[in-house]
């Protein structure tokens, strides 16, 4: 059963087409992350679901009910914003109960719900305070609580952690995940941070130019990116790309010819110009390398030690190539290292369509 369904959604701002013919089905209880760089339309899509933007064409269903033209509060959603959006002149309690008071809910019921939300989020001691007297993390909890008290099926998160510092962000991320596990309701979460996306999502929808590039589980997206954009977007440091020709199990790039027989091509045969993508962490050195079908000697140009591991910059087949080594490895510019690549873990894309081969 679908919790949220979006049917051929279009949104235009004048001549600018922000969303184009977009379809998306979100399952009940699913945690879906909309991921993309700024301007890709992910927040716009979320705002459409919330009813904060009027769509140009298409339909939106929440719990099988067509809500395309309903007011935000009639849709059965709760929303958490990047800037917290707490009402500064109201206490935490006031903030939590504002929506319920607008809905003219009996006082007792309001009190019950506020108490429950405060308990879940452990913000009971803060109830009488004003937002100005709260820390960033506390404010975001209150903002989540505001969605919680509404007792709705769908939670919408609009980059809720972007304004927090790195440590808090990691903490709150875990909390949101725990919340999802406990509440089991549908959550749609917009972010540009791939770590958040990978850690939280059941499925990730990667967006670009108002369209969904790939909708899949985090593992699938990481391991089998559907196109070059997704491959480039996911992973840090990002994937190495080698331009070349693919011809009957061989990939030729700048004089090097690589054996690709181990790669599971989706089509029967793949010929023609292609791009090979290799994640820096999938490049092996040392004895692991020896069993791999592709091997080469590269000269180290630059070393970036990052503690847990070290990023090494080299040239491979005349193109910039990075790979990851153990943090304890001792390498210096000028060293020559022999590397190995497993074609099974690599990705191949058609140079023209940029789709996965």
């Amino acid at each position: 059963m679908h919790s949220v369904s979006i049917r051929s959604l279009d949104l235009h701002f004048g001549a600018v087409k922000v969303l184009q013919n977009l379809d998306l089905d979100i399952f009940d209880g699913e945690f879906l992350v909309l991921l993309g760089s700024s301007g890709c339309g992910k927040s716009t899509l979320l705002n459409c679901i919330a009813g904060l933007l009027d769509v140009t064409d298409g339909q939106i269903f929440i719990k099988d009910k067509n809500v395309t033209w309903l007011e935000p509060n009639e849709r059965g959603i709760g929303m958490v914003f990047q800037s917290y959006a707490l009402y500064p002149q109201m206490t935490v309690e006031g903030n939590l109960s504002f929506g319920l008071r607008n809905a003219r809910m009996p006082k007792a019921e309001i009190a019950k719900r506020v108490a429950r939300a405060a308990e879940i989020l452990q913000i009971e001691p803060l109830l009488k305070r004003k937002p100005a007297a709260l820390s960033g993390g506390q404010r975001q909890r209150v903002a989540i609580g505001r969605a919680l008290v509404r007792d709705v099926d769908v939670f919408l998160f609009d980059e809720p952690l972007s304004n927090l510092d790195a440590k808090l962000r990691a903490d709150l991320r875990v909390e949101i995940k725990r919340l999802h596990q406990n509440l089991e309701n549908t959550m749609i979460y917009v972010t540009h941070d791939q770590v958040e996306a990978m850690t939280l999502a059941d499925r990730i929808a990667i967006m670009k130019g108002g369209q969904i590039m790939q909708l899949a589980s985090p593992a699938e997206i990481y391991n089998r990116p559907g196109n070059k954009y997704v491959a480039d977007f996911i992973g840090s440091p990002s994937m190495n790309f080698l331009e070349g020709m693919l011809d009957s199990g061989r990939f030729t790039t700048s004089g090097e010819t690589l054996d690709t027989t181990a790669y599971p091509f989706s089509g029967s045969t793949a010929h023609g110009p292609a791009t090979m993508g290799v994640r820096p962490e999938h490049v092996a050195t040392g004895h692991e390398m020896q069993s791999l079908p592709i091997q080469a000697d590269v000269s180290v140009e630059l070393v970036e030690p990052m503690g847990s591991d070290t990023l090494v910059w080299t040239q491979f087949a005349g193109q910039t190539f990075r790979f990851r080594m153990d943090g304890q490895a001792e390498v210096a510019p000028g060293d020559t290292i022999r590397i190995g690549i497993d074609p099974a873990k690599a990705s191949f894309f058609d140079q023209k369509t940029e789709l996965r081969l």
Binding site: Q59, N66, T68
Partner: protein, 308 residues
Amino acid sequence: MTSTDARTVEAGNGSRPPNPLLKNLSAKIASVPMALTALVIFLGCTGWTVVHSFTSSKLLPKLDFVGLDQYDRLWSTRRWLVSIENLAIYGICSLIFTLVIGFTLAALLDRKVRFESAFRTIYLYPFALSFIVTGLVWQWLLNPELGIQNVVRSLGWESFSFDPLYNPDIVIFGILIAGLWQGTGLIMVIMLAGLRGIDEDIWKAARVDGIPVWKTYVLVIIPMMRPVFVTALVLITSGIVKIYDLVVAQTSGGPGIASEVPAKYVYDRMFSSQNLGQGFAASTMMLLMVAIILIPWAYLEFGGKKRG
């Protein structure tokens, strides 16, 4: 995915887009006063006046068109020409002096002086006073038998003469003195805010480079304050065209017609001479003047932004 049709059926009012006219209905209702003001007053009344400036309306407005007759008469009337000349002199001087004095005072105050707030308070308080009050005060101060001239003479300098309000050649400067007294404080405050908004590092960089303070102001700070100057400029000019109360209180246009201004011409023709057509023609010319000042500015401001 399974049964879109069924969904549509049970969806109810959410599936149909509301009438676009009724959308944001409260907002539209709430905007009625604004819309009425914009359309009826600013567009309607202005258009009405412009149309009637081509008629021979006397005491009562009537649509008896006489072409450009009113404008002919307007531009052959001494008093109007004097008014325009006065406005030009007052305008240019007021613009230059207000900017220079305003900026200089702001720059001086920005040198981290002691009692800054006391100085600022003194410089700005005249702005709280109306033009009527300003005009009356300066009428007395510039009165030769009572004011500054009298005081200086009583100190022994018998030949001292300072009676701008009684000399047709310089009366407009007498009004300028009062106008500057009233208005420079505001420009100073705006300039001061502009100066405070400039990054301290600019000053540090200039000092490291060994640029003298005055040169830093001229070459670095003033160019950086362009938006502030534009604001000040628009503010001063729109005030200049409206000048009326000050003249009424200070000189009533005298001596003779030496300190008449366009706004007063309009008022007198409309209400005292009972020649509405003439008043409308004069006010239409005022509108044209504003447009001449405003259009290049708007072009620079907004045309520039689009390019950028």
